[in-house]
Symmetry: C3
């Protein structure tokens, strides 16, 4: 029986709780609470999970952590802070996701229901792959990236760390995307994207 | 053993029959027939279901109804007419859909295979959510809306009544869409849409 | 116990192997090897499957073949060559796909996990329907077509032979697409496409 702790108490935390609690229960595991600035976020929804305190006050123990904050920068910063203090993050792969046996999945990565990881793909630590999104064959996704829903990273795509993909963004085969880029909803990325670039439209062009 | 009646005999009725008949059968339930102007629509496909007469001639009894017409205006008008005469519509949630326990689903709403309703979302009565489409966390969809396939309503989106979304349309977080709007296939809605507006393209602009 | 042979040893062959090997195993069936110019493609991945020789040297026997090359032209040419020599191709429908009982599926057609075939749809021989892609009601897809991920062919769409659809391409209801056309990723096809046309953008226009 393993107790898991959610990092964050917002909308993604509520989704994570629902996606994974039934599955954890199959092995007697559960979420025991969440860390956030205050306990108000979940209290507003009838407090399905107890508030355990602020993230910065948390002393990690042997209870695995689950990142439940969508923003890649926050994922990376909070993840590093908790890992530095000895915390470790659980890999959470939903049983309605499809994960290749030949895919490498980093610690703390999350695959939502109906997410997909193809053969020889790599998903970095603390990456979040949401519903109907795919990491294609031979593609790699860096640490702390967030793929919103219906994102398609096709074959051989190389994504750096802390990249955000909006709903329905897609990247053509083999294209590389630099660290900290942000790809707008519905964008179709057809050529390399430099670090920190904000891209949008079809074909994707640079907004900033 | 409950007998259900489909409203409409076209393509959506054929899909609904296939999506839900096996699932209804698990509790001994079934579709017993459909209502439409004539019995020709299904007869052309070998009549998988008997024709029970015209919609306007139907006197509702205790048999639940299932709306199988895609157009939001027709859904609303026929739904109201049948409800006014005492009819009630079944909630049909496919067992390959993923529905949050924290989602509110109105009477007569339909979730197709691979449809998704997130935490704290609200889907209005008689709304149709097709394959691979999502109602995001804290989002609300009004009565009689129709989401075609692969539509993504992201977090906190607010959709009025009788809105139609074409294939792959998506709406950015928190954006509001007025009653009776129509959102074209592949459109990316980035700001509020007034009632009755017809929107298309990426980012979506007004066609009429 | 039936032995299947994959045609091609690249990324799609690796995906096909993983998608279908567990399912074939349920009836004691398996993939026994693959045909390709050399045995290097899979060897680079630890050779999950033995190389059986070059495609052009293969003398088909009673072992069913499975096409694992994405390009529609190659699918058609190699498929014809092997069929002419007496080979036959297996229909492979993943158990996480949803296939209408009223859909017609040609020999050698492949439906990936989370693919969808609606009522009264027709999918031609050797067509490939990838993850999250849909063949809509009353739609038809010709021989050797390839739908990448998240493609939506809506109701009544008519697609010729050897058409390629990039990731997330979609086609409006009833639109016809000629033989050998190529539809770019993210394109929204709103009117008829002539044979051999290369289309892209939203709404789709002709590139060549």
């Amino acid at each position: 029986m393993t107790d898991h702790i959610l990092i964050g108490g917002g909308a993604l935390a509520r989704e994570m709780l629902e996606w994974f609690a039934p599955q954890l229960a199959l092995s007697g595991d559960r979420f025991v609470g969440y860390l956030d600035d205050t306990g108000e976020a979940m209290a507003a929804f009838g407090a399905p999970l107890p508030w355990l305190g602020a993230i910065q006050d948390h002393t990690p123990d042997d209870r695995p952590l689950a990142m439940a904050i969508a923003d890649p920068g926050a994922r990376a910063t909070l993840g590093a802070a908790l890992t530095d203090r000895g915390g470790r993050f659980a890999r959470l792969l939903h049983d309605r996701a499809w994960i290749s046996a030949g895919a490498r999945i980093g610690e703390g990565a999350v695959f939502a229901p109906f997410a997909y990881a193809a053969n020889a793909s790599t998903t970095g630590e603390l990456a979040q792959i949401n519903t109907f999104s795919a990491v294609g064959h031979d593609a790699s996704v860096g640490a702390a990236c967030c793929l919103s829903s219906q994102v398609d990273l096709t074959g051989g795509v190389k994504v750096g760390d802390r990249v955000f993909f909006g709903s329905g963004a897609r990247v053509l085969p083999g294209v590389e995307i630099g660290d900290d880029a942000r790809i707008g909803a519905g964008s179709v990325v057809v050529r390399a994207v430099p670090p920190r670039a904000v891209m949008y439209a079809q074909p994707a062009r640079r907004l900033s």
